[in-house]
Symmetry: C2
Subunit: 342 residues, 2 copies
Amino acid sequence: MASGAHPGEAPSPLLVFETLWGYQRSAALRAAIELDVFRAVGEGPGDVASLARQCSASERGLRILCDYLTIIGLLSKEAGRYRHTPTSAMFLDPRSPACVASTARFLGNPAISEPFQHLADIVRSGRTTLAGQGSVEPENPVWVEFAHSMAPMMAPMCGPLGSIVLEGLAGPIRVLDIAAGHGLFGIEVAKQNPDARVDAVDWAPVLEVARTNARKAGVEDRYDMISGSAFEVDYGGPYDIVLLTNFLHHFDPPTCIALLKKVHTALKPGARAAALEFVPNDDRVSPPLAAGFSLTMLASTASGDAYTFRELESMYREAGFERISAHPVPTGPHTVVVGHAA
Amino acid sequence: MASGAHPGEAPSPLLVFETLWGYQRSAALRAAIELDVFRAVGEGPGDVASLARQCSASERGLRILCDYLTIIGLLSKEAGRYRHTPTSAMFLDPRSPACVASTARFLGNPAISEPFQHLADIVRSGRTTLAGQGSVEPENPVWVEFAHSMAPMMAPMCGPLGSIVLEGLAGPIRVLDIAAGHGLFGIEVAKQNPDARVDAVDWAPVLEVARTNARKAGVEDRYDMISGSAFEVDYGGPYDIVLLTNFLHHFDPPTCIALLKKVHTALKPGARAAALEFVPNDDRVSPPLAAGFSLTMLASTASGDAYTFRELESMYREAGFERISAHPVPTGPHTVVVGHAA
């Protein structure tokens, strides 16, 4: 059966209107996070007057916002009182350790969302309307925001990624974490292997966030930093593991291959390069979150994409890697693609 | 069971991320409509190169956009070719008489969508960030856009509305169509009753659209216009039917009651006032489209709302109406609320 085809489906304009109004869902959730509505709902008692007081908001506004959040499944309502759904309790109440509310700051950042106002122009030209290389323009401050606010989305994937890249490796190893961002992935490897040393590459202001996280995790003494562009800095090495998390999708295949070749020269023979990526199936329309990520790359970069495993495998091979394998991360929409230096 | 509650539901961050990315769905559909992608898909053959040529767009952009439309259920894809789903064929291909693509121009109009950029501020203050009375500020040009582009959303509801308001009425009647917009509702009444005369009230530039539609429908000789504010103009009369379509929701109850009282004075005894409205259930969180419309009124007006039948009934009563009844329209998200002049 064709992907996206629904042969038995009756035509309905509802999906069209819900899609045209989709921006309202994003706006409602962002507003609720900004107003700290999910904390107030968790604290109770959940009636409109109390919530309006807790959030310093009008009763009219608060009532309509909470009704809307209920309609889209992010709150529940009973006898005029709003309560958490299982999802909002775990992922939106700031008192929950799994809360991902901070990701709204990056996902709603104008550097990421603004180009969608000009999407028709972007489809015409085939590249972002942002200046230069778009979101990957050197020293773009959006990556400091990423490092600060996206950690809660990435955190659940750290454990599985660490296990995948460390499998069969023990004792003293050296790890290079390219485009480290919040640093959580490299830090996790250092936590899982107490003899691992990590070198993190990113823009200097971003590395400040990673350094703070390394300190919190107690691995600061095995954590070093190389500030600058991953395409320009000297990596040093040789390394046992190179991490490339959420990075390759910003660039076209020739650029990815050039980078992977540079990575290859910094690896010990047989060492591994691990990319954490949104990897769609060959049909490019499934699974939804990984495949849909292409649109973000279209909107915010000059030539990035969400690459299929076949495409990534071919880039790895061309850069001199072998034994290339895909490991879907069970706790997130990402896949870890591992290649070994020949 | 509480509305929106999903006691057995496992918590999942997916709904959170899909909601934060909801604006991308709107942007993708708007871009596709602007680029005439749905016409090109309907004409075939549907491969990326052909579509890019037909839409004067880049192949990269077109491919990623069509993949995304497939992911969100608005196209299908098989062996690299894009085809219509039943919904896109009927409601998005401009060659279909039921096409609603033009509604994107109103629903994406900055006067409607821009306030959602400031939704937290709006919830704080309880009113739109738009100047004055927001979308219902006198002579707001957005209503000319509404009259031009929203007709395809309203057209399927005209027939049922005409039958509801004309039930049991025959022979020469006079109809007042308040905030006529595209004029389709009054025109439909004139079509169903060849002895009906219609007076349409709206801002002059909006009435030009209604006049054109009356001419196309062949009822121009029974169609007159009263240009100006529904709150200020002299309605004349007395009328057998007054239509108030998509109007009351822009105002607070006292304003609605004042308007209904004015309407009452223009009616024959026993005559009917019919409001076409988004009418949520008493829980205010169902059905989704009608209940969710409150957020649009919060964002774009000073004090409007989607009113429950109970609330509308109470306004009608206070304005002197009796025998008030609700008639859900089977072909749309709206309900017709009819009251009779005492």
